[in-house]
Symmetry: C2
Subunit: 227 residues, 2 copies
Amino acid sequence: MKSIRKQVETAPSAQFGGRRIALQTIERLSTYRRVLEDLQGQGAQYVYSHQLAEYVSVTPAQLRRDLSLFGSFGNISRGYNVQHLITVLSGLLGTSEIQPVALVGVGNLGRTLLAYGGFIERGFSLEVVFDSDPAKIGRVIAGRRCFDIAEAEAVLAGHPVDIAILACQPQGLQSIVDRFVAAGVQSFLSFVPAIIRVPPGVHVEMEDLSAKLEKLSFLVKNRVEEE
Amino acid sequence: MKSIRKQVETAPSAQFGGRRIALQTIERLSTYRRVLEDLQGQGAQYVYSHQLAEYVSVTPAQLRRDLSLFGSFGNISRGYNVQHLITVLSGLLGTSEIQPVALVGVGNLGRTLLAYGGFIERGFSLEVVFDSDPAKIGRVIAGRRCFDIAEAEAVLAGHPVDIAILACQPQGLQSIVDRFVAAGVQSFLSFVPAIIRVPPGVHVEMEDLSAKLEKLSFLVKNRVEEE
């Protein structure tokens, strides 16, 4: 650990159509789509790659390289067709149809996620809701019946989902994840500040609402300039 | 746009102590700290770099390279001292003292952010709260008095902040940002799906709660394996 040798870096990546794609590329696709939808809302039909790149804070080369992985887009004189690119990105991200998502935990954060309109706009419906609190189980909260987490296997057998959002307490979380994986859940978005372990092929994304504040704090405190 | 030429990539970066640091490095520092705090909660005093790297899904070389930017840590036989590394990272991220943050918009999302315990644990206090709704202005919401966004300049003069969180409607957002920048706000965390423009030296982070679901959806739909 004394000398930091130069090593070949391997970023987390995925295989797609025989190619290796950095997971960060996939995150950027979401960002591209969101900005394109904003542009479309402002009436734009076409956008140049250098403009789109600027809006999403990447280099034009990065943008073109990302999109080139999925096909040939754009027109040298007019730029990208906004609607076409939105359609392609929606297809790639698998959200051209509404898909059901499970939610674990209907506390303050969970209720907000249930009420958050942005998920359904982007193709995700938080349909299968769990909690362990007897005061919540069986009640209808924000339009969804709250199931007992103790009955997760039976509920998920009747309401299969690929994705679960974790918004519960950290205590017992690993055991819930293990049971969900056994019930066929393939990926987790966790708002819980705790390490969870999953078998190969199951994906975990951590969402940390404080991390971006910390990054801004670092930039402000150190008076650094983004370049 | 027909041929994708190889170009030198320049990732968004910042200057720190005469060095160039990728902004993604700063985000990883937050993640390292969070995982270290979780390990500390589990009673760990030391952690090896390969273990810490595995927990945060980076390569050991990446972890060591990130930390080497800020000093020399770790001990070849026992690994990193968990408490020491937490202290160093907290100092770097500028959150060893509580800092005030402004919040714009006290709708459903804004109220949750106010009630979210994670911010104060990480050193951020959402102290200066704004809305434009006459039914909210002047009221005390989650312990904070809600100010009129129309009086932002006067309020911020009396309660200066470096960071503002945007959780309002997209209409009129750019004008609010312009006024906050003029009042000395140096960075924004935006939950609003809209492009905002700021002068050089002012930082914007976009938080998109749907983007990670889209990434999981992509991974599941395309049956890809993380590597």
